[in-house]
Structure formats: C-alpha cells, structure tokens
Symmetry: D2
Subunit: 394 residues, 4 copies
C-alpha cells in the first residue's frame, strides 16, 4: 500500500512535477512548424518529434508496462521507432534513419503523449506507487529534462542550417549579463571530496563520493567572451597546428573549421545565428558552440589550460556558472566504486565511458532545477552543437 | 503581337493544359500528411515539397523572369533551394541535403505555386506570348509531368520504407489486366527508322530520326509476371553469379538484395508494399521495381535477352505497353546529329548520356498524354524505385 | 592422337609463341627493383608480381590441371592468391588487398613461372594436345599479352606516383612520328559490316559479325596532340561545366583534375612523367592518359564528337593507328548473337558489359601482334592510367 | 669544448649505446625478405623500411642538420618521405600512402642508415657534443627503441595477415613462464606519489611527479591467461552487449570480432599465429593482442575492473610485469604542470592526449632497458596489434 512507502504529500509533488516537466517539452516545441519536427540534418541531431516520442516511450516502457496492471500499449511499433539505444529492449531505428520517418505524424506523437500522460497520472493516483517506481519516475523526468536541452540544441541546428535562417522566437531573450571584471581565484592544494552525497536525485555517474588530491591552482571567475575568442581567430589560431591536438587538427582540416558553429563572416563582419535569427556578434557574451578541440587550442594559445572536473567542482562555489556547459580537461570515466544498474536502466551512463570528455555546469538551455555542481555531462570532443563555453585555469 | 505568332485558340489550349498539369501535381500530393512532404530517405528520392517547388521554379526562372516584364521574384532564396542540377543558374542545395530542409514550409511552397500560377496565367493572356515562350512552356509542362511520375515513385519509397507501412490511398487501384496468353512476335531483318518525326512535343534526345539495321528477332507481347520472377528467386537466381554482370553481382552482395524492391518474405509468404499498403503478391501482375541488373540476370537465366531500344521502338506497335517502364539493353547515348540547346535548357538531357541505360514505354505512374513510342527514359542500372519491368527477346 | 588434330608444325609454332610471350612478360619487368613488384597504389593498378603470377595461374588452372595427367599443383594457396575475378574457381584475394601481400616473394613467383613453363612445354610435346587445349592456349597467350600492357601501365603508375620519380628505362624510346598534316576523311552513308570474320584468334566479344547502318561522317586521320590539348586547358576547359557530362564534372571537382594524368605544372612550365623520367611536354606527340570524360569534354569544346566504334572500324583502313587506345562514343555492349562460353572462360568479357566505354586501336604499350581493327577494349569512363588518346569526328 | 660539458667517459657510453640501438633495429629486420619491408596492410602498420628510414631521419633532422657543421643532407626528398607526423618540419607522406612507395629501395634505406651513422659517430667524437645534443640523442635512441617494438608488431601483422602464414623466426622463443598461482595483492588507501623523479631519461609525459589519493584496492599478481580468456569467448562474451562500451559493441559488430587478433578457429580448434607460424593456443600463457574494448568487456564479465594508471604504478613493485602491455582504465591526459617542449620535439607526446587509453608495463617486444614503472604508453581503444594483455583489480 502506498501509505507504507510514500505519503500523500510526496505523490502530489511527483504528480505536479510530472505535469510540469511534460508540459515544458511541449512548450519548447510550440513555436515550430510541423515540418521542423521531422528533419535530422546530421546524425547527432534528432528530429523534435522523435524527442517527444522517445521521452514518452521511456515512461511507457519502464513504468507503465512494468507497474500498471492492465495497461495496454499504445502501439507496439513505437517501441521500435522511439527506442534510442537501449539494446535490452529490442530493435531500434538506427540513429541515422530517424530523419527518414515521416510517420508517426506529429499529431500522432502528441496523441501518444496524451495517452501515456493520462495513464501515468492515473497510476500515480493509485495505491500502487512504490519506491522503485518513484526512482524510475524521477529518472524519467530527469531524462526528459536532458532531452529538453537537446531539443533546443537540435532545433537551433535545424533552423540555423536552413538557408532561410528562420527565427525560432521573435522576442529577444534577456541578454546575458556581460562579462566585466575577471579575476583568477586561488584554490589551495589538498585533499578534497567530490561526487554526489545528498539525498535528492542524481545520476549513477555522480555517485561514489571520493577523495582527490589537488595541487594548488587558480581558476577564472568568468567565461571566455566572444571578443576574446575573436582575438584567437584573428591571431590565426585555426591555422597554427601547434595549439591543437593531432585529432583536433585533422578535424579542423577535414571540416574547414574556422570559427565556432553558427558564426558567418558576411562582407567582412562576423555574424552568428541565434534563436531569434542572424545577428551581429555580441562581444561581451560568453563564446558558445565550440568543440573540446577548440577549447583546448584556445587555452594553449593563452598559455593556460582547462580545469579538471575535480578542480571545477571544488572551485564552483566561488564563481557564477550556468550559461555555458564548460569543457573540462577530464575524460569521462567511472568514479571509484561505480556500479551500473541491472537491466536497461544500467545502459544509461556507463557504456559511454570511453572517448568522451566531461562538461560541468549547465547552460541557458538547461531546464530549471536540472543542474548541480556534481553533474557530469559528456560529449565527443568534436561536437559543437551544445551550448558550450570555456573557463580557464592557470 | 500574339496574333502574328499564335492564334487565340492555341493560347486557350495552353492555358487549359497549364491548369490541368499544375493541378494534377497537387492532387497527387493530396493524400499526404505534411510530414510526408519533407523527408528524403535516400539520395535518389526527393521530398514531395521539393518536387512541387522545383517544377514551379522552372516556370519562374525560364519563363516569368525572362518574358514577363515587371515580374517580381517570389523569394530570391528559392532559386537556391529549388534548383536541381542546372549549373548555369547558380548555386543549388546539394541533392543529399534536400531532406534536411524543414523550410520553406509546405504552406509556403503552395503559396509559391499560387503566386507563379497567377503570374503565368496573366502572362499567357497577354499579347506577349511568343513561339519561343511556348516551346519553353511545353517543356515546362512535360518537365512537371516527369516529376509527377517521380512524385509517385518517391512517395511510395517514403511510405514503403516507414516501419508503419502507411497506405497512400484507401481505394484499391483497378487491378492490372492479368497477363494470360503470351506470344513471341517475329520481326524481320532490315533497315528501320527510329526517333521522333512528328510535329508535337518531344525531348531533344528523341530527335535525329535515323536509320538502323536490325537483324531478325522475336519479342514477347507480354511482360514478365510476378509468378515468373518468383521462379527465378526460387531457383536461386540471386545466389548464382553466372547470371549477373560483375557490377550487378557486387550490387547484390553489398546490398544483400534477394528480391525486387518492396518485397518482404514474412513468415514464409511473399508480401509486397503497394500504395494501398502491405499485401500478398499478385502472381499474374507484371513484376515491378527491379533494377537493370536484375532484368538482365533474369533474362540470362531464361536464356534470352532484353530488346535494344531500336528493337523495342520498331516492334512497339505489335504489343500493349504502358504499365511498366521496360529496361532495354541499350546504353543512353546521343542519336546521330544530336545537338543540345544553348543555355540552361541544354542541360536537360545530354549531360546524362553516360553510364545509364534506356527504358522504353511508360508506367502506371506516368501521367496521361506523356508517353510515346520514341520516348527515351534513362536511369542508372542499380535503381529499382521506378515502376520498372521486363520484356524479353529471343 | 595429336596427329589427328594438329600437325607437328602447328605444335612447333605454339611452343615458339608460348616461349616468346612468356619471356616478354619477364623482360618487361627486368628493369624493376624487387620493391617495385609489390605495391598497389590504387585499386585499378596491380602489383607487377601479381600480373606475373596471375598469368601463370591461368595456364595452370585451365590447361595443366585439366589436361596434363599427373600434374601436381605448385602450391594450392596460389589459386587463392592469383585468381583475379573468376568466381567459378573459388575464393580470391580481393583486388584492394593485392598490395598487402609481401609473399609469395618475387623469387617464388619466378619459380612458379618456371615450374608451370616446364610443365606446359612438356605437355605441348606430348600427343595429348587437342583443339580444345589449343583454343585455351591461345586465349592464355592473348590474356598474358593483355597483362603485358597492364604491366607497363601499372609500372608507370607505380613509379610515376613516387615522389622520387624514378625512371623505368634509361634509353629514350624512339620518339613518335610527330603529327603534321591533318585531314578529315569522308566516309559515305550506307550499310557496313563489323565484327571479326577471320580464322585467327579473337575474343568472344568481337564475334557476331553484323551489319550496321551508318550516316555519312568525316573522321580525322590524326590524333589530338599535346599542343592541341593544352589549348583546351588554357581556354579553361576544366573550369567550364558546359563541356562535361554531369558525372564527368563531378569527377573533375572531386579529384581536382586539371590536366591529363602525369602532367605537372612546375614553376609555370608543363612537365610530364614518362617512363624515362620527368620531362618537358612534347607538343607534337599525341595526348595520352586521358579519361573518357576528358575526351568528350575536349570534343565538345571543339564542336565535334568521338567516333562510334562502328565508325572507327569502318574507317580504320584510312588512317594510321596504334599509338593510343582511342576512346569511342560507344558503350561496351554485346554484339547481336553474342554468346559467352560455358564455365570460367565465359567470365572473360560478357560480365563487364555495363557502364564501360569501348576503346579501339592499340597503343605503344600493346605487345606486337596483339592488335586488330575488330579488337574491343573497354574501361570505365573515369580511368586515365592506360595509354589513351583522342580522334575526332565531325 | 666538450670537456666543459661532458666527460670522455660519457661520450664513450653514448657511442656504445648508439651503436647497439642502431644495430638492434637492423637485426630485427634480418629475417625479412625484401618484399616484407614494403607493404602496409592497414593504416596503423608501417612498412619496416619506413621505420628504418624514419628513425634515421630523426637523427639527421634534429641532430646532424642542427649541430654538425658542414653536414650534407643525404637526400632532400627523404625529409618528405620519412617524416611521420611532425608538422613543424614540412610536408610528409600521409600515413595511408606509405605502403605505396616502392622507392627508396631497401638497399637505399640501408645506405641512408650507414651514411647517417658514420656522420653521427664522427660528430660524437668531436668536441662539439653539448648537453642539448645529448638530450636529443637520448630522445632519438629511445625513439628508435619505440620503433623497434613497432617493427615487431608490424612485421607480425604483415606476415600474420598473409594467406601463406610465413614464419618470421624458425626457433621457438623461450616459452613464457606459465601463470600458476594467482593472488590479489591488497594496497591500502592513502596519498601516493606517481610520475618520474629520477635523473635518467624519461619522456615529457612522465614528468610532473605528483600526489594522488587512492582508495584501497586489490590487484592481481598475474595476467589473464589464454585459458581464462577462452572461457569468456565460450560463455558468449562477444555476443552480449551488456559487457561492452557502446563504442566497443559497435566495433565488435562492424568488424565481426569474435576473438583476439591472430586467433583462428580451424576445424573446431583454436589456433593462433605467432612469429614462428600458426600453432595451437598455449592455455597458460597470458592472452595477447586484445583491444581496450575487449579488456574492459572481459573485466566486466568477471565483475572486476582494470587498474587506473596510478594504481598500477603504485602496486607495480608487488608483481612481475613485462610480457604484455597492460591496458589501464585511465585516459591519456597530461599530468599536472605538464609542459611540452618548444619546436618539433614538443610534438612528441602532448598532441596525442585525447581519445587514447594508457597502457603500463612493457611487453616481450619491448627492447631491453626501455621500460620503467613510470612509462606511459598509449593507444586508441580499438587497437589490437600491440602485445597487449589484461590485469584485473577488485
């Protein structure tokens, strides 16, 4: 019985959070044309309708089918269409094919969401809510929040790579607080403890709070701005192999990279695409949409380096963060005593722990309440399409 | 003045034909969901909205901009988006990128059509209609008819490669007349004349009517049926390299081809996807969606061969044709005295005259009034997605 | 018994020819370093030691193993290593892998040749020589002669793509007779007969002598010279899409082609690599090492065209040929009544009859006695590494 | 003057070491046929003659040209041919092209070695030897020793991928001490110091000795044997995605990996290629030629993990090592305070510090005197062709 495991208050909180998170995904998509929901311009970008379906499939597969007696699957084919990479739960549409699927239609995907939401809310009001289910529910909501950030990144990519440069939003977003005074904050050497220790939600990759020994270092309290990054470009940073990793240099050459993603040199002026359209670059805003390769080349040019993820976590109380995911110099590897869960949920994080770099903080695209100082985000070093930035250490 | 060059009657005929052809493209798309207009599952298939825009762009670029004083371009960017392969008229969206463009939206494309149609009809009612313009208009209408056939092929590909197998049309099409009596028609040796000699419209590749010497041959009055093709499959035709061109054999191996496109062996039964959905194979209908490689392998297995295009044209009066494009054994090459037009229109046919094979006849997807015995269609030998079939010669 | 089928004289002729042909292959390789025998810089070029082994394998497989009682295979593995593309006779080393094989060593390949030669000569002196065997022997010798030409082409490619530009031969070859007077020879319209009708050796693709109807045409009695081709380059021929097939234009763009193979613009002077090393271009010699795409672009620029293979064959008595393989405008397709042989020998020609263009004549690299006016050579339109040239028709 | 910087004794030691190291490279190649020196079957494997030339080029470029007055370059082209990846010193033959170069011949490469050796020994006997030069000399010798190990790995790859499976050496190597008693050694938690602190030679990536905090762990004193690894295979380890990184699983699928490199299942028995030829697998020898992906999948199957490089270094005094390079769970990243050298030498290590994993120890192929507990080897996780093995931690 629910009363044994969860009090009524907690159920209400969960129901409220469920409603809010689910609604937020849809509000992100509200400005889109139906056509925008469908395309997949590169393999890393998924069609918005796929995100809407996939996050729904998560609740259906891991909660409704397991815990809600008598639940009838919405459409058996959707399991095939909306699975992302969970090998445990059957065949899936390979990632490069997502953009080839005109059906299910956007209207069908919204119906699917409604159907699953009704059932989820019905389930949450029964006596059958257990601790296990709540754990999965929280994971599902955090999973959807991660996809909300991806939705924004992917929508920006879809519209920003269209020759018509359509705007996503008419209203200018509130401009970011321009970066003005910059200081380097000294942190002393010693043993520190990192990793998640609280009682709230966190991902399995943050667990295993553990001690690390750090040498003394100084970390900037400000992100690198567009103006500073432009100096690197102007100084020939993209033409000088000495600042780059060997792989990074190959990436620059093969893709003719000469600026962050969305930057265009038009008639001698640097412009960039933002969610409100094409506009002149704001010099004081933090640089965005750069790869790990670019971050480390910039740092090398400055004669500095990126923080490790431990340094970042230890120092994070001393600066503002949250506008850009900050590349660290740490590879994404398991913490001591890391254990992945049994079953499909265990595929969430551990299997990606090779050849990716950790990013810390969060970005303007991260949903509220989804960030914390122990959060370990990770991407391949070549990727630019997230809202990424640079903080230096010396 | 128009009266010098064209009489009123001719103008009316043209206006009527313009209206009909333009409307037919839209009626082909009527059953689609908006999402279906957008995707491009393989490079050879274009998104339906691209076809609608591209055929419109043709009239705008080659007629309105050249002949209609004061015409204002609908959107300068569309030239970039909807050009297909005309190098003469500027940059174009590379073919593999068409499926990445969510904009212009479907509604925008229809507005574009309306705008161009209004202007075209206005132009056609002026005194400024000239012979040159009529020639381009007829080319533009025939061009749009060609894209009508591609629209059907591409829609079938888009829906037929979706795991939900949505149907395009609820009503069963009238079944094709089953093939029953088959005979081989003997044609005597001698000098024949092929190529277009009439006064109506034809493409430049049909011109240059010329003599050919043919040896005696016998040609079937019927197309190969699904049942006959199934015998080839069952006899291991796809596993025996001896029947295949070397390139064809590589194609079979690399793509694991084991049947025509859209055929699926489900629980031991052969099914195929048709525009009304997945259904059991009709044994008496002519086989469809096969590559040139498959056609010649089948013919070799039968100990026969495909007709040359000259043989086909000479014999065509003696059999019914029009349900399948029929692969011939002729490479697509210029006729004697072939001359391509000046300018962009000259890019229509000549530059494709290498590494493609000629198909003759027409198919169930060909618009009415668009076929004739001198028509030279052509595709790469590996392609299956057109409504292609086999007629044998011995 | 041999006396029934072949007289002693014929056997002696065959033995003599066998010795000569086999020796000639080795004399072609005499100037090579051992290292030159091993590499395969691109897929179309085979390592010289592979040619030496493969031609030997042909005699072993099709004659010794079939006809010589008690013959012991030299090494069962060689069947795997030296088969080229005969699917009938088992697995083979895929073409792209040939350059990865350091063994069998060059010495081993020569031992293999010696062993097979001894056995062949022994067999030829027995009573067991039959007509069938003679047919295969002649095919084997012609096959080896074809590989002699490939040997020279491949050696030139291997040395000509080495940054040290080593020379193959110290002595300058006798310069080709410079092209001086050029005339166009008129040929009247009418029915002509083409294809092989003699009693000597020919390939199966030349058989089926048949009538063709030709319109009147004029054909040049001279090949296009380097000087003439240079005019095309200087006039921007490689930068103007209008002269090119669509595929040819893609080939130019993707490979940055701007001149024939082996041409290098060094300090403003055009040089080319020849078998004696890097040297200045001889303006009066016939242009060499051009693709079909380049041939047709050049012809289009001149406002002329290439001959068809029938035109070439009909007119060939009226001009000198034999220094360059001449691209024709004909696709490589079967002649009427073409029948391929049973078994592995049947794979010789027929299975390549798609997506290749016919070349006629022969070249400076063709072994003596291996050319005739009905000979049908064929290559993919993109290939430049053979000794190819241009003759125009108007 | 030399006496100011180096005493005579040190010079003699250097001369002796130079002679020994240079001679050892040639003795490794002694059993090869000339053909074996030339080929490059995959991009990661270089032709042996390239290794011999490249190590020589290092001494010529960084020492003779800089420090030996009047030195005349052997051949200016060799700079182009034998540079590996040093962007600072000009164009280079791209790695995939090395196997296409038949010249310089093997004899030329040996002449090049002789010429450089004579000059190096002459220089070493002058008064001009300085500390800087000695630093470069030691780097050059360690560099050549690294290539000696690569030579053996590459020779094994070249011969082991030849269908004839030629043996490199007739004599069986002394069998490795079979692994018998296995124990897990406990190491207590605490602060440890890792990195190079001595006065001898080390690479820049080992410098920056620094403290690390380690939790308690237990490490095996023995490597995983073939027998143990076979259990993993038999248990279906290559078919169960749960044990693999996502990238590792893709690697298994795309390459059909089902065993370590060089293992062949022949008539139901597991054989492997060794430098003496194809032979039955020795169950008690440590498993070899496995990728990082395989190492971690095996560890996951055992419910254990790989050591981090810090754990390995701290525990290394407690077990025998030196037969297999041991994959660690550590990504290859800079140590604190890592600084790369100025100029070309600075390209040695730092630019590879992304997307590679660290290996510790050394292998049977490592030259004597070239290993130490602080040595940081690194390779991409997919690579199998080095002599790699597995040690577990729990």
């Amino acid at each position: 019985m629910q009363n044994n495991t969860l009090d009524v208050y907690k159920a209400e909180v969960l129901i409220k959070k469920y409603r809010e998170v689910r609604k937020h995904s849809e509000s992100i998509c509200a400005p889109l044309e139906i056509e925008d929901y469908v395309v997949q311009p590169v393999v890393d970008v998924s069609p918005p309708k796929w995100h809407l379906g996939h996050t729904t499939w998560f609740f259906e597969t891991f909660i409704l089918k397991s815990y809600f007696k008598g639940y009838e699957e919405y459409d058996a084919q959707y399991n095939f269409v909306f699975n992302s990479y969970y090998e445990t739960v059957g065949a899936r549409v390979v990632r490069t094919d997502r953009g080839n699927l005109s059906r299910p239609s956007v209207a069908d995907v919204y119906s699917y969401r409604d159907y699953v939401d009704e059932n989820m809310l019905a389930l949450l009001q029964t006596d059958e809510v257990t601790d296990d289910m709540c754990t999965l529910l929280e994971l599902g909501l955090n999973h959807e929040q991660q996809h909300q950030e991806l939705l924004l990144s992917d929508i920006k990519y879809i519209l920003g790579h269209n020759p018509l440069f359509p705007s996503y939003s008419k209203e200018k977003t509130v401009p970011l607080q321009p970066v003005t005074n910059k200081h380097f904050i000294p942190i002393g050497e010693g043993i520190y403890e990192i990793g998640y220790k609280g009682n709230g939600f966190c991902f399995d990759n943050e667990l295993g709070s553990h001690k690390v020994y750090l040498e003394a270092f100084e970390i900037s309290d400000a992100l690198i701005t567009n103006a500073e990054y432009l100096e690197f470009i102007t100084a020939g940073g993209y033409q000088d192999f000495r600042f780059w990793h060997s792989e990074g240099w190959d990436w620059v050459q093969q893709n003719n990279v000469s600026a962050p993603l969305y930057w265009h040199s038009i008639d001698g002026r640097w412009m960039y695409y933002t969610l409100t359209g094409l506009t002149e670059i704001a010099p004081d805003e933090p640089v965005c949409h750069i790869s790990f390769y670019e971050s480390t080349a910039f740092a090398a040019w400055k004669g500095m380096r990126l923080p490790t993820e431990a340094e970042w976590e230890v120092a994070s109380a001393h600066f503002n963060w949250g506008t850009r995911w900050e590349w660290t110099g740490s590879a994404y590897l398991p913490y001591p005593r890391y254990k992945k869960d049994e079953g499909a949920i265990g595929e969430y994080n551990g299997k990606f722990m090779v050849n990716q770099m950790v990013l810390r903080g969060s970005s303007v695209a991260t949903p509220q309440g989804h960030s914390r100082t122990t959060y370990r985000n990770f991407f391949h070093p070549r990727l630019q399409w997230q809202f990424t930035g640079i903080r230096l250490v010396k």
